[in-house]
Symmetry: C2
Subunit: 121 residues, 2 copies
């Protein structure tokens, strides 16, 4: 099981990779068979190819991620963070929470993103 420090660094690297426009750096945090549901309620997507497309599109949309507070760990293989997605060109913000589960290799195996229609402002 990955330790707390490893998981928190991975979530910070997710934020940093996104803001650097580096989809490959984000996707490298995930296992090849990872499943993401972003947001919860949308059809899950899986696999590095699909994730690369997803994050490339999100980055190209001009979004930046700003942590709302410290990343949380757990007593197990999960970690979570609250953040705000800022899309300056659209004068749009989205408040989100991502919860991630790691595999024994320290890769993210599942990500669930909590944000809905009324979390936008």
């Amino acid at each position: 099981m990955p330790d707390q420090e490893h998981m928190k660094k991975a979530l910070q690297a997710y934020i940093d990779g996104f803001n650097a426009g580096d989809a490959a750096a984000i996707v490298a945090l995930f296992a090849e068979d990872a499943v993401i549901e972003d947001p919860v309620g949308n059809p899950p997507i899986s696999g590095h190819a699909a994730l690369t497309e997803f994050y490339t599109n999100a980055i190209n949309g001009g979004a930046k991620l700003v942590l709302d507070g410290p990343i949380r760990g757990s007593h197990g293989n999960g970690a979570a963070m609250a953040f705000t997605i800022e899309v300056a060109a659209m004068n749009l913000t989205i408040r989100a929470i991502d919860a991630m589960t790691f595999n024994d290799d320290g890769k993210i195996i599942e990500m669930r993103a909590y944000w809905g229609p009324d979390d936008m402002g």
Copy 2:
């Protein structure tokens, strides 16, 4: 599927019920067969009797919950919130994120709490 407003009110009622010392009000938000893992990595507990014991103990420990920001919904049956657990008597704070899944009756069917040893301060 419960609507976003219902889920967010339930999470707010969880906070308010906790701070009012009303374990029954919290437990009433959950389905009888709900499973909670608090924190992730601890053995899950299930059923209203076990949840009542869990929340009664937490309340009796003197903890109060303070939301860190707006509760998040989703495009489906999930909602999440970041908050700080304050235990004044122990001069202790714990930073947590709870992610909840609802059933079609609008009751919480699963709760996963993200906080670990190094989220305490």
